[in-house]
Amino acid sequence: MIHGFAESKSFISEGHIPSGCAIGALLNRAGVRMPGTLVVDMMASMRERSTDLGAGYAGYGIYPHLKDFYAFHLMYSGAAAQVETEKLIRSKLNVEREEVIPVKRIASIKDAPLLRRYFVRPNAIAMAERRLDDEDEFVRQIVMHINSDINGAFVFSSGKNMGVFKGVGFPEDIAEFFRLNEYEAYCWIAHGRFPTNTPGWWGGAHPFSMLNWSIVHNGEISSYGINKRYLETFGYRCTLMTDTEVMAYMVDLLVRVHGLPAYLACKVMAPPFWAEIDRMEGEEKENYEKLRMVYGSALVNGPFGIVCGFGRGMFGLNDRIKLRPMIAAEKDDMVYIASEESAIRSICREPGRVWNPKGGEPVIAELYEGVAV
């Protein structure tokens, strides 16, 4: 039962799951693709921070030949859920290719759900029926619909030219299971999980992902209650009861829906204190004052360190009083973010610069301008 995705009664977990964790991430700003083994080495050095209760990876640039299709990664608890989901997918989306996600059977990974992937495009008629002209929004609605309404089915990855691989196990085991050494990405984001009160389950592992966004998270959101209610007013349904889900939807709302620049979205989630704002001047002061007034319910309070991948890069962010660790480093075209410096040095012995970002001060790393991926 502990590992039990297959055995659990419902796909949806019964309660809100706080957790502590290990985070590792790297980006090649020139867009050079690197095998998954690098980030796995980072995670291996932080084994103490993880458990066998959940781990996962997001890789950007892994499907270069199918990069114009939304890559849906699905978990099914059984055949019935699969039939129901595929019927929905086929009615709303044009499927270019579908396949079993290749895995390696290993002893330490038990009770894996059925894993499938579909490369899809929105069906024009289905979109017109919903009176939508934004493909991303259409796809988001389908993902939300499957995740909240189809018992036993879960879309855990839905972006383009990217994919999430996650499950119940130690980070190294999950990587081996999903054969991560066979994928190459210019950006890897990884997570090892230390859940504090509820056993891990496959859908609850990180990264949590929606469209091109993926997010890994170390922390427990003390403002979970209001963040969730705030998101609900914008039509999000928080079904997984994890803090990370709230984080992911918040980023989606602020950046994709409201169109805030990533930097300001970070400043909404971890805003400057009023005392700091009072010392600002002119436009800056007005901006922060209004951001806090309008987005008070989006302030993410309590300890967190997150890394968020967004397609052309990633950003790392700590809560505003830095209650969780996060270190960043640079070397040539590479940018690293991790819970521990040792994880970075395990794959980059002599980084050019290593720094400890201040609470609330985002580290935003993007591909160089003009780099095509």
């Binding site: 504090t196 209650g225 009861m241 209004k290 007034m293 309008v294 009083i321």
Partner: protein
């Protein structure tokens, strides 16, 4: 012929050994309960007049006075409590409506007392407010759902218009109490304390006395059904304007300030002749629908050129959620909801004690309804009606309020003993009396410090609560019902207020 319908409620006991006949008590009592009997050289009490306000007791230099409940026996009856029998005697004698002051005195269950707060242990850390910043600043007013920025060379340029806001340094305001209901020194104390605390006081519907104009940046003025004291300068001076539709102590009922209380000062401020009764109709005579309210809201916005938020105050009644949603759509920036335990200067007892619903329920259903309709950002919510402590404040905020208003607590800080005789104009503490020899008992310098102390104390306590909850800003508590649990509340009530029972985790 019987002298009195009922026996006195209280007995003033004077210890003849301790009493030095200084007669101070005879001057202190606003109700003329005590007098000096020169023939027998002693202080005598007319117990029928005593309201148990403690003024004589507190000011007796020899501690010679005690006030006791007069425990006269009645035949027991579960169906006929003594107070109901005594009301019948009074009404049989007078044929009148029985009046009272202050808030609902019936022993309804207080939901606040069945709610408990959360705290952090291990998995997320609590925060020490003595070492870390802890933020209570709150902005009252209508906010857009989203902000848009343009990227510029120097940073970002805000493109979205944000309506005017009132900044509060702590999520507390003083409830509306008019000049007439309370004395000018009380209003001055409130205004000065509001300025000291970075919050606002509210004129109630009695106009703004000229001596209060210097404090107008911390004052919200009311426009109520009597339109007393409303003119151009009044609207323009304040930081916000409130349309008063109703009051928790007497939903659906108008106001009546008797001519006896309308002295020159009250008359000038209300803009009525001295000595005339000041009658506030039950409804506004130009508001018979939600669209009429919208017209008044925008008439006021036009009058002040959209420079300040417009608040609408309503009593918590059964359909409060739908009403509040209508008010939000009508263009209000702030909705003030007054629960059925809210106080009054004067109301029919029967209305005060039996009409309306508790603020805990009202604020919860309004917050939820506004969220469902996507209107929550568009208005700020004030919860009022017996916010008795910083715990009530924290719980009301967790249920969905942006800020709370305090009326009774503020008056208690000034000495009020909640004797419920505000309507008589005899308040021995000088709070609700216009008699100069009584009202001068409130010294605004001292009163304002006491009020500011109360606000500071509650704010510190709220910070302690937030710290225990592991959040460092009050907006992370606002609407976060996940941090509340119910103890001894029935399932339906828990459902209505959106709170889980104690013992259930996240």
């Amino acid at each position: 012929m019987k002298l009195h319908e009922t026996a006195p409620e209280f007995r003033v006991k004077i210890d003849r050994d301790l009493c030095t006949r200084c007669k101070r008590c005879t001057m202190q009592c606003g109700f003329s309960t005590l007098s000096y009997d020169a023939e027998n050289d002693r202080i005598v009490a007319d117990n029928h007049k005593c309201v148990a306000c403690h003024r004589c007791m507190v000011y007796c230099p020899n501690e010679a006075i005690t006030i006791e409940r007069n425990t006269h026996a009645y035949q027991d009856s579960g169906a006929w409590p003594v107070y109901l029998r005594e009301r019948v005697y009074k009404q049989a004698a007078t044929g009148g409506v029985l009046l009272t002051g202050m808030g609902n005195a019936m022993p309804y269950e207080t939901i606040f007392d069945h709610l408990v707060l959360d705290a952090c242990q291990v998995t997320n850390p609590s925060i020490d407010p003595l070492r870390e910043p802890m933020e209570l600043r709150t902005y009252m007013g209508s906010k857009p759902d989203a902000l848009e920025f343009d990227k510029t060379d120097s940073g970002y340029k805000l493109k979205t218009y944000v309506a005017p806001q009132i900044r509060l340094e702590t999520p507390i305001v003083f409830a509306p109490m008019s000049l007439g209901a309370v004395s000018l020194p009380v209003q001055k104390s409130l205004a000065m304390a509001a300025e000291m605390s970075g919050i606002y006081m509210n004129t109630g519907e009695g106009g703004l006395h000229k001596e209060l104009y210097p404090y107008a940046r911390n004052i919200v003025v009311q426009v109520a059904s009597g339109r007393f004291g409303v003119f151009d300068k009044y609207l323009k001076a304040a930081i916000g304007i409130e349309i008063k539709i109703g009051q928790g102590a007497k939903p659906g009922i108008g106001g009546h300030l008797p001519g006896e209380k309308v002295d020159d000062q009250v008359a000038a401020t209300r803009m009525i002749p001295p000595g005339t009764d000041a009658l506030s109709p039950a409804p506004h005579h130009d508001i018979y629908s939600i669209e009429d309210l919208r017209q008044l809201i925008f008439a006021l916005k036009e009058a002040v050129e959209y420079s300040k938020p417009i608040s609408v105050k309503i009593a918590a009644v059964h359909n409060v959620a739908a009403i509040a949603s209508g008010i939000a759509r009508a263009g209000a920036d702030i909705i003030y909801i007054d629960g059925f335990r809210g106080s009054t200067g004067a109301a029919p007892t029967i209305i005060r004690d039996h009409v309306g619903i508790p603020i805990e329920v009202a604020i919860a259903v309004v917050d939820e309804r506004l969220r469902q309709e996507g209107l929550r950002n568009r208005v700020s919510l004030i919860a009022a009606g017996s916010i008795r402590s910083s715990a009530d404040l924290a719980k009301a905020i967790a249920l969905g309020a942006d800020a709370c208003a305090i009326g009774t607590a503020a008056l208690v800080a000034l000495g009020c003993r909640v004797c419920m005789k505000c309507y008589t104009g005899n308040c021995s503490w000088g709070i609700t009396s216009q008699r100069p020899e009584l009202s001068r008992r409130i010294d605004p310098r001292e009163g304002s410090v006491r009020l500011a102390n109360l606000i500071r104390g509650w704010s510190h306590e709220l910070k302690e609560i937030l710290g225990a909850l592991g959040v460092n800003s009050v907006e992370s508590l606002r609407g976060s019902r996940e941090r509340l649990r119910g103890v001894g509340l029935d399932k339906e009530t828990l459902n209505v207020i959106g709170v889980k029972p104690a013992g259930v985790g996240y």
